[in-house]
C-alpha cells in the first residue's frame, strides 16, 4: 500500500513581496514595501496598523481595485499579478465580497435591491425569481430578511451594515475583504457584525478584516500588524 498522497491545497490568496508606490505631485512615496501574506480557505486574518499605514491600500490590491508595482499575487495558485481589467472585474464579481466602513447603500433602492446590485453587474444573468431567492438567502444569513423591502434611510447603522454584508455574500464569494466594517458602529452592534463575518469562515470562506479594534482582531485566526509598509 502506498502512502496516501498529501492533498496540498493551493492557498486562497498568496502575496509575495507586494510593493505599492504612490506617485503624486510630490516625490513618489512607498506605501507598501514587500508585503507577504497567505490566506487559506476558512482562515480569518486581522490586519492592524495605525492610520495611514496602508491597510486600505493593501486591501484594494487584494480585491483587484488596483495593481501592485512589484511582487506577485496568486489566487488559488493562479498568477493574477498582471490581470487585464476586464478579467479583474469578473474575479471581483465571482471571488470577492467587500464590506466597507461606510455602508454604501444606494438610497433610492430597497435593502433587497441593494443586495441584488451585486447580481446585476453584467457578469452573467439569472432570472428574477432566482435573484430574489439568492437575495433572501443572503439577508437571512445576516438575520434581517424581514427588512428586505426597507429603504436604507429607515434602517439603523447595524442593519445597514448587515445589508452591505448580505450584498458581499450574495454571490457566495471565496474571500471576504472588510475594511473597518465596525468603524461607524457602537461596540455591541460592532460585535454582532464581526460575529456575522466570522460565521462565513465556517463555510470555507477566507476573511481579511482591517480594524482598529483589538478585541475584534483577537477573534480572528491570525493578527498581523502593518508598520513601515510591511508586516512584522
Amino acid at each position: 500500500m502506498t502512502a496516501p498522497a498529501i492533498q496540498v491545497q493551493a492557498p486562497l490568496i498568496q502575496l509575495n513581496g507586494i510593493t505599492k508606490v504612490l506617485k503624486g505631485q510630490e516625490e513618489p512615496r512607498t506605501i507598501l514595501s514587500g508585503v507577504d501574506l497567505t490566506v487559506h480557505p476558512g482562515q480569518s486574518v486581522a490586519i492592524l496598523g495605525r492610520s495611514g499605514s496602508g491597510k486600505s491600500t493593501l486591501l484594494s490590491l487584494i480585491g483587484l481595485f488596483d495593481r501592485a508595482d512589484e511582487g506577485q499575487y496568486f489566487l488559488h495558485g493562479n498568477d493574477i499579478t498582471k490581470l487585464p481589467e476586464r478579467k479583474a472585474a469578473a474575479l471581483r464579481s465571482a471571488e470577492f465580497g467587500f464590506v466597507f466602513q461606510r455602508f454604501f447603500l444606494l438610497k433610492h433602492l430597497t435593502a433587497a435591491q441593494n443586495v441584488a446590485m451585486a447580481l446585476v453587474n453584467g457578469q452573467g444573468w439569472s432570472s428574477r425569481r432566482k435573484r430574489k431567492q439568492q437575495v433572501m438567502e443572503a439577508l437571512e444569513q445576516v438575520g434581517i430578511a424581514h427588512l428586505a423591502k426597507s429603504k436604507p434611510a429607515r434602517l439603523s447603522g447595524g442593519e445597514q451594515q448587515r445589508v452591505a454584508i448580505a450584498r458581499a455574500l450574495v454571490r457566495q464569494p471565496r474571500v471576504i475583504l472588510a475594511d473597518e466594517p465596525t468603524g461607524a458602529l457602537d461596540t455591541e452592534t460592532g460585535n454582532l457584525v464581526v460575529e456575522v463575518l466570522l460565521n462565513t469562515t465556517r463555510q470555507g470562506c477566507g476573511l481579511v478584516l482591517v480594524t482598529h479594534d483589538h478585541d475584534h482582531a483577537r477573534k480572528m485566526g491570525r493578527v498581523l500588524e502593518l508598520r513601515d509598509g510591511r508586516f512584522n
Binding site: D66, F104, G122, W125
Partner: protein, 442 residues
C-alpha cells in the same frame, strides 16, 4: 453573456432614470428646443423648396422634360399633330388667338394681355413697319378700329394629350379635360384663373370666335386651373377643336410679328430621343428652318437648389447653435450627475461591473434621453405643421397637399443622436475613470 450585460444595463438605467425624473426632464427641455429648431429648419427648407419647385415647374415644365418651341408655319402644326397622335410620352400645345363674347367688337384686353393692364396703355396707333427676312420693308396700315364691347381675347391652347405629367397644373374648381372619352361635339374648355377672372368680371356672352374657324361655337366650361400664366388662356382637346376647325391654321411670319398666329410647344418625356429626331426630320423636311427647331431639357430644380442652398445653410447654422446649447445643457446635467454618483459608480465596479459596461450605461442613459427628446420634437414639429397648414394653408395654393417631409424627421433623429453622444460621452469617460478605491476613502 451579452444579454446579461444588456439586461443589467436596462435594469440599472431604468432605476437611474426613475430616481432622477426631474433632472432627466430638465435636460430634455433644453435639448427639445435644439432638436425642434433643427427639425423646423429642415422641414421649412423642404417645404419652401417644394413650393418653389412646383411654381417653377408650372411655368417651365417638370424637371427633366424636353421642350421644343416650334414656329407654327409651313404645316408644322399638322406635322406635330400627326406625329404625336395617340402617344402618351409627348404632348403638344398648339395655341392661337380666340375671342369670347359679342362678335365684331374690339375685346377689352386686345392682344390677350392680363385684365389688370387692359385699357391702360392708351391707343397708340402710329405707323408700324414690318421688314421680312429679305430686308424688304413695308408700312402696316393700322387695323380698322372696331367698336369697344363685351368681349375678351384669350390664348386658345389645343392639347394633343394630357399635359399635366409635364406641367403640374393645379385644379382650382371643376374638372380637368377628359382625354379618354370620345370627343364631344360641343367643345369642352378649361380656363386658367385669369380667363375665369375676365369672364366673371365682364359678363361676356359665352360665344367663342376663333381665327380661321368656320363658325362661332358655344363651348362648355368644365373647370378652372392654375397654370402659372398671367395672361388669360383656355385649354381644350385638339380633336374637339378639329370638329369645327378642320385644318390647322398655319401662320405666316407676319402674323407672328403682329402677335397672333399659331404657336407650337412640344413636351417630351426624358429620354425620348428617337421621337425628337423624328419630329426634327419631318419638320425640316417640310421646310421649317433648322435653327428654329430647338429642343432643350428643363432643369429648374438644379438652378433653384443653388439659390436655396445658401439660405438653407444659414438657417441650419442657426439651428445647430440652438442644438449646441441643448447639448451643453445635457452635458452639464450629465457631468453633475456623474459627480453625484461617484460612490455609486465606484461601488458598482467594486462588485464586478466592467469599466466598459459602466461607461455604456452612462452613455445609454443620455442617448436614450436624446432619442426620446428627438421623437417628441419631431412629433411636435409634425403636429405644428399640420396646425399651421389647416390655419393658413388656403392662402398658399402651392402648399396644398404638403406633408411633413421625412428629411426633417431624419434630421431630428440625427440631431438627437449627436446630442446624446456629445452630451453623454464625456460623462461616460469620467465615470469609467473613477478609481474603485474611492469606496475606501470617502
Amino acid at each position: 453573456m451579452f444579454s446579461g450585460k444588456l439586461r443589467s444595463a436596462l435594469v440599472i438605467g431604468g432605476q437611474g432614470i426613475r430616481a432622477r425624473k426631474l433632472r432627466t426632464f430638465l435636460s430634455m427641455v433644453s435639448l427639445f428646443l435644439g432638436v425642434l429648431a433643427v427639425v423646423t429648419v429642415q422641414a421649412g427648407a423642404e417645404i419652401a423648396e417644394r413650393a418653389m419647385l412646383t411654381d417653377v415647374e408650372l411655368q417651365a415644365g417638370k424637371d427633366g422634360t424636353v421642350t421644343g418651341y416650334i414656329p407654327g408655319e409651313k404645316g408644322a402644326p399638322g406635322i406635330v399633330e400627326a406625329t404625336l397622335k395617340g402617344r402618351a410620352d409627348a404632348v403638344a400645345m398648339i395655341s392661337s388667338k380666340a375671342i369670347i363674347g359679342e362678335p365684331g367688337l374690339r375685346p377689352i384686353n386686345e392682344g390677350g394681355m392680363p385684365f389688370e393692364y387692359a385699357n391702360r396703355g392708351g391707343d397708340y396707333q402710329g405707323p408700324m413697319v414690318y421688314c421680312d427676312a429679305g430686308g424688304v420693308c413695308q408700312e402696316q396700315k393700322p387695323q380698322e378700329k372696331k367698336p369697344d364691347g363685351q368681349a375678351i381675347e384669350v390664348s386658345m391652347v389645343a392639347l394633343t394629350g394630357d399635359i399635366r405629367p409635364f406641367k403640374p397644373f393645379r385644379p382650382v374648381s371643376g374638372t380637368w379635360l377628359d382625354f379618354a372619352s370620345a370627343p364631344s361635339l360641343a367643345p369642352r374648355i378649361v380656363l386658367n384663373e385669369e380667363a375665369a377672372k375676365g369672364l366673371r368680371q365682364y359678363r361676356v356672352p359665352g360665344e367663342m370666335m376663333i381665327d380661321g374657324a368656320t363658325h362661332h361655337v358655344t363651348p362648355q366650361i368644365v373647370g378652372v386651373v392654375e397654370d402659372g400664366y398671367p395672361q388669360p388662356r383656355v385649354y381644350l382637346r385638339l380633336d374637339e377643336l378639329r370638329t369645327w376647325m378642320p385644318a390647322a391654321a398655319a401662320s405666316s411670319e407676319l402674323d407672328r410679328f403682329r402677335g397672333g398666329g399659331t404657336g407650337l410647344e412640344v413636351y417630351l418625356q426624358p429620354g425620348s430621343h428617337d421621337l425628337q429626331q423624328l419630329l426634327k426630320a419631318k419638320l425640316i423636311g417640310a421646310g421649317v428652318d433648322q435653327k428654329q427647331v430647338e429642343f432643350r431639357v428643363v432643369n429648374s430644380k438644379e438652378r433653384m437648389e443653388s439659390e436655396l442652398k445658401i439660405m438653407r445653410l444659414i438657417f441650419l447654422g442657426m439651428a445647430f447653435l440652438v442644438l449646441l446649447i441643448g447639448v451643453a445643457g445635457i452635458l452639464n446635467v450629465g457631468l453633475a450627475t456623474v459627480g453625484e454618483r461617484v460612490e455609486e459608480f465606484a461601488l458598482r465596479r467594486a462588485v464586478g461591473m466592467s469599466r466598459m459596461l459602466l461607461a455604456g450605461i452612462v452613455l445609454a442613459e443620455t442617448l436614450l434621453t436624446g432619442l426620446l427628446t428627438a421623437a417628441l420634437a419631431i412629433g411636435a414639429g409634425a403636429a405644428g405643421l399640420q396646425i399651421a397648414l389647416t390655419l393658413f394653408g388656403h392662402r398658399f395654393p402651392s402648399l396644398q397637399g404638403t406633408t411633413f417631409p421625412w428629411e426633417a424627421g431624419v434630421a431630428g433623429v440625427i440631431a438627437g443622436l449627436v446630442a446624446g453622444v456629445l452630451g453623454g460621452l464625456i460623462p461616460a469617460i469620467r465615470a469609467a475613470r473613477i478609481p474603485i478605491a474611492t469606496v475606501m476613502r470617502a
